[in-house]
Structures are given as structure tokens and as C-alpha cells.
């Protein structure tokens, strides 16, 4: 891959993840310049998607730009890390028009700010006043319980966990009982036909 050699010059290391998938991790400052160089020099003209992964424990978002060349025979993922609190990314919509809608979605779902983005209006949620939903510290179950109550259980409703426990005990008990019966039967047979065993032994 001549791309690997080119990246050597920029002291970046190209990792091959799958047979058509390569990834490059860089730090945030050089992101925009690298994207432009990918577009102009290396011929990766198609921006396929901008993905964001929320690593709550380490306190940063991993942003992945997936680029493809004109032949579309492999995908290069450019990954970078930005800190979670008031994260902001350079907007790419002047270069790739489709980046506008991808950035609008990421703004609404993760709260990532894109200075200079024309339409940071709501993408899928209407009148949403809570924190951006796809961040990991937003607990969707607790939000759902507060917003609209579930249908009250049917009066003959059963709780799944107890039922499982009961079934396990019932199976264990049944196995136990079966063993005891087997022993009892065996013991019974042993009594009423001691002669057979003796016959077998002779």
C-alpha cells in the first residue's frame, strides 16, 4: 500500500484491521490538515460517514472519519480522541456537503459543537430539552420511567425472575424425587427377589 509509505513521511502508522479496512489514529490538532491531505493528495474523495464512540470511563469521544477512494475497494478510518466536556470539531461541510447532515446528527445526539455549521437545528428529536441522548451518562430506562408510565401489570402477572427460580427448584426437586424413587424401587426389588441376585451370583 503506497498509502502506508506516504503516512510514514507524516510519521503516522497505518493499521490493517480487516482485509478491506485500514485505520489511522492521530491527535486532534492535525485532524483537519490530514483530512485535507487525504482528499487532495491521496485521492480519498468520498467521505462515507462520521462516527462517534463515547468512552465514558476514559473521558473522551473517539471520532472516526471513514474515507474511500474513487475505486471504492477499501475504507480508511481516521480516528481521533476529543475530550467529552464541551467537545468541538472543525466542520467539514464546505468540503463535503454530506458532512452537514452527519454533523447535525452528531451535534444533536452527542452534543459535539461544530463552530460555523449552518444548520445546527434538531435532526430527529422535537422539543428535546434533556441532555443529548446518545451520551453514555444518559440513562434511558430511568428517563422512560419518569416520562410515561408503563401499562400496569395484569393482575395475574408473574415476575420473570421468581418464575425462573421456581422452575429451577422444581426441576431440582423432581430430579431428587426421581432418584429417591429409583433407590426405593431398587431397594424394593432387592427385598422381594433376593433370590435373583443370589442366582446371578451363582
Amino acid at each position: 500500500m503506497d498509502l502506508a509509505s506516504k503516512l510514514e513521511k507524516l510519521s503516522l502508522e497505518l493499521v490493517q484491521k480487516q482485509d478491506y479496512l485500514y485505520s489511522v489514529t492521530i491527535d486532534f490538532e492535525r485532524l483537519e490538515s490530514l483530512l485535507l491531505s487525504f482528499l487532495n493528495e491521496f485521492g480519498y474523495i468520498t467521505l462515507d460517514s462520521i462516527n462517534c464512540r463515547d468512552d465514558l470511563e476514559d473521558g473522551f469521544f473517539t471520532i472516526t472519519y471513514c474515507l474511500q477512494t474513487e475505486e471504492r475497494d477499501h475504507v480508511v478510518m481516521i480516528q481521533t480522541k476529543i475530550q467529552r466536556e464541551n467537545a468541538s470539531l472543525p466542520t467539514m461541510h464546505t468540503i463535503w456537503p454530506q458532512a452537514e447532515i452527519m454533523e447535525r446528527e452528531m451535534h444533536e445526539m452527542f452534543g459535539v459543537d461544530f463552530p460555523g455549521h449552518p444548520t445546527l437545528i434538531d435532526f430527529a428529536l422535537e422539543y428535546w430539552d434533556n441532555m443529548p441522548p446518545l451520551r453514555r451518562d444518559f440513562d434511558t430506562l430511568e428517563y422512560v420511567n419518569s416520562m410515561n408510565p408503563f401499562r400496569e401489570q395484569r393482575n395475574d402477572a408473574l415476575d420473570a425472575k421468581e418464575e425462573m427460580k421456581k422452575k429451577r427448584e422444581a426441576k431440582k426437586a423432581a430430579k431428587l424425587k426421581a432418584q429417591q424413587e429409583a433407590e426405593a424401587k431398587a431397594a424394593l426389588e432387592a427385598q422381594n427377589n433376593p433370590s435373583d441376585e443370589v442366582k446371578n451370583e451363582e
Partner: protein
């Protein structure tokens, strides 16, 4: 010209009992006949709200053909009797569905597909879908299946037709009777943003009248 040219303006008690409807205010046989005609021709509004909308084309086209029952799709809520809520309802969709439902003319019915409108179904823990449609809109017929087969949907139509023919109490009467209950729930879950959000007394809420 403020008061209506024909027909009285809304009197307080709008309990739309069956007797005050159209031709049916003569007597018993006439009422039964009108119920029979009503059951024989149902207009469904063209609104695929959820993922069950994929089963609507097969139901209304040549293989399963709901038109045999007299069930036809129409474009606008004004002309429709039945709205099919096919699957889960996001908050944004719920606003439009309430608007469409209230623009339909009585008697109007709601048919829901799958278990998502009943108890949240597969998206029980999603932050953007409602969990129990009964609080917001009265449901007449629920069809089981995720997504129900065209035969199940047509079975739903047949059940609805039977109910209309027997003259059972329909959803729209429930909606009129406890209108406040429904409006409160809607206001709570939609964060007060019920269309129309501007100041006109759209549904005569202030004057206690009904839709």
C-alpha cells in the same frame, strides 16, 4: 354571519349519541340499516406511522385485496373513518397522529398493529417512543403480530366491521366523554407542545366544548 348558517352551534352536551347522527334519527330498522352500510364501506387514511406500514401494500393490493370488504385507502383525514397505527409511535409522530385523528369525522376508529402501542413492545426502554397508547388515543381494534400478516390485518377489519354492525360503544365516544383525561395525558407526555401551539381556542378547550 358568525353563527353557523345551518345546524346548531356546539351545545355543551355533545354526547354524540348514535341517534343524532345523519339519516339514522328515524327509527330502529333504519338505524340497523345505516350501521350495516357503515360497516360495508370503511375509508382508511393514507398514513404509514410505524414499521408495519410495509404490510399495508400487500393488504390493499391484488393478493390479499382488502377492497373486497369495502376497505379503501383515501388521501385526507377529512374523508377517512379509520386510521391504522402500524407499530410504535415516536413523540413527533404522536403529535401528527392526534392532529389527524381529530380532523377525521365521527364515527372514526383506530386500529393498532403489534404490541408496541399496547405496552411499548420491543422498544420498551426507548426514550422517544410512547409506551401505552390507551392514555392518549382510544384504540378500537388491536391486531397481534410483529408485523401482523395481511390476513391478520384483514381479520382486524372484519372484527371492526362486526363491532360497527352490532353498534358497540366505539373509541370516538370514549374520546368525547373523557376528553379532559386524554388531553391531560397528551399534554404531559408531549411536554405541553400540542399543536396548535398558538393562542386560538382551537378545540374550544376554554369553553368546555369538545372537538
Amino acid at each position: 354571519m358568525e353563527s353557523g348558517f345551518y345546524g346548531s352551534s356546539l351545545d355543551g352536551n355533545l354526547k354524540c349519541k348514535f341517534e343524532e347522527s345523519g339519516l339514522a334519527n328515524t327509527h330502529e330498522i333504519m338505524e340497523k340499516a345505516v350501521r350495516w352500510f357503515r360497516s360495508r364501506s370503511i375509508f382508511v387514511v393514507a398514513y404509514g406511522t410505524g414499521c408495519g406500514a410495509i404490510e399495508m401494500p400487500p393488504t390493499f393490493t391484488s393478493r390479499y385485496d382488502a377492497e373486497r370488504m369495502g376497505v379503501v385507502g383515501v388521501a385526507t383525514p377529512r374523508q377517512a373513518d379509520l386510521i391504522i397505527l402500524s407499530g410504535y409511535l415516536a413523540y413527533k409522530t404522536l403529535r401528527r397522529v392526534i392532529r389527524t385523528y381529530e380532523q377525521m369525522q365521527k364515527p372514526r376508529y383506530i386500529m393498532t398493529l403489534g404490541s408496541c402501542p399496547i405496552n411499548g413492545g420491543m422498544y420498551w426502554d426507548s426514550y422517544n417512543t410512547i409506551k401505552k397508547l390507551d392514555d392518549y388515543l382510544p384504540i378500537d381494534v388491536s391486531v397481534t403480530g410483529c408485523m401482523p400478516r395481511p390476513e391478520a390485518v384483514i381479520d382486524g377489519f372484519v372484527l371492526l366491521q362486526e363491532r360497527i354492525r352490532n353498534g358497540e360503544k366505539a373509541g370516538w365516544e370514549k374520546y368525547d366523554e373523557n376528553f379532559e383525561f386524554y388531553k391531560e395525558n397528551q399534554k404531559r407526555v408531549l411536554g405541553g407542545h400540542i399543536d396548535p401551539s398558538y393562542e386560538t381556542d382551537w378545540y374550544n378547550l376554554k369553553s368546555g366544548g369538545k372537538a
